[in-house]
Subunit: 168 residues, 2 copies
DNA sequence: ATAAAATATATAGATATCTATGTAAATAAT
DNA sequence: ATTATTTACATAGATATCTATATATTTTAT
């Protein structure tokens, strides 16, 4: 919800204020976690990579295929001009190439380069403290059930945001 | 983590790609949920309120007290100049006042006005579809256990981000 | 009492995002 | 076939955020 991303500086340790329905408290926690996890993550990124840039690099590396700007925008839930901008930065760093499709002159395929793959590898390495951190939490946290619940919640929201079951 | 806020447009319904450790998948879900929940939330905000502005208004209304710019910045986990900017907008709309403290000339107290309170009330009303939506989800979602797990996760991250137990 | 350090806020500049719109190419309609 | 519509990407302008720094005030040290 963003608006409720409110740390309690009062006495207890709940997020959100008393009057919030529990769903709002959950959303407040989720906002705060997203924000802090992003902070932790970005601190570890090398070579002036932004998290948006690494996201694209990582996706192209793992899928092992090129994708169009629009496909990437959908995949990362950002506006198309936002993804155009991110890809532009990656092109400037020579981590990806953009080439007009041979079969459709409107489309541009984004493909990762060798330099990009190498950078992605280095970055994954430098993220190792993250793995350690999350493993350390596994004592106290049940990741699997949490994932299931969050997945359910996400699907509800996707329907809400993108209309009737836009999720494949 | 932001960088992994990646919708699968492939066949399954998991977030994140196969190779991710489960903690990364959880973080990916959390990012996506935060993003979509914010979208849903902002669509409902009236009077050109941003979620940041409503957050401050709502907090001041519920706490029933004035707070300083720095206190608000800490509460919402944003940089101090960011909160200065948000408060400035609220002052322009005459929803809050800023007054230099009588006991400390550096400090400015932010207090909600009657106009601000009224606006907050209207906004809470216009958010009613949100309550309905979250209630509708309660069939399939266990809000309470989820809240507990997320709370634990948040505390881990607070320690990580702000150093040893900055959380009161 | 004066000078130095710390604190609260504001300002400046940079960046990432958004919406609206422009441009070029492909598809559909006539 | 031509024209209109749709689609994919780029550009422009607005906004919210951040970091770095300036300014004013208070507190601390000498």
């Amino acid at each position: 919800m963003a608006s409720n991303k409110e740390r309690r500086i009062e006495s207890t340790s709940d997020a959100g204020l008393e009057a919030d329905p529990i769903a709002f408290k959950v959303m407040t926690e989720i906002d705060m976690i997203a924000s802090m996890a992003t902070t932790v993550f970005e601190r570890l990124l090398p070579e002036n990579l932004t998290s948006a840039q690494f996201g694209v690099l990582n996706r192209l590396a793992r899928l092992g295929m090129k994708e169009t700007v629009s496909e990437l925008a959908v995949a990362f839930m950002v506006a198309q001009p936002t993804m155009s901008s991110t890809v532009k930065k990656l092109v400037a760093k020579r981590f990806v190439t953009m080439r007009v499709s041979k079969t459709d002159g409107r489309v541009k395929h984004v493909a990762i380069t060798k330099r990009g793959l190498a950078c992605r590898e280095r970055t994954v390495q430098s993220l190792s403290p993250l793995y350690a951190m999350y493993e350390a939490m596994a004592d106290k946290l049940e990741w699997a059930p949490m994932l299931m619940q969050l997945n359910t919640l996400r699907h509800y929201l996707e329907t809400e945001v993108y209309g009737q079951d836009s999720a494949e």
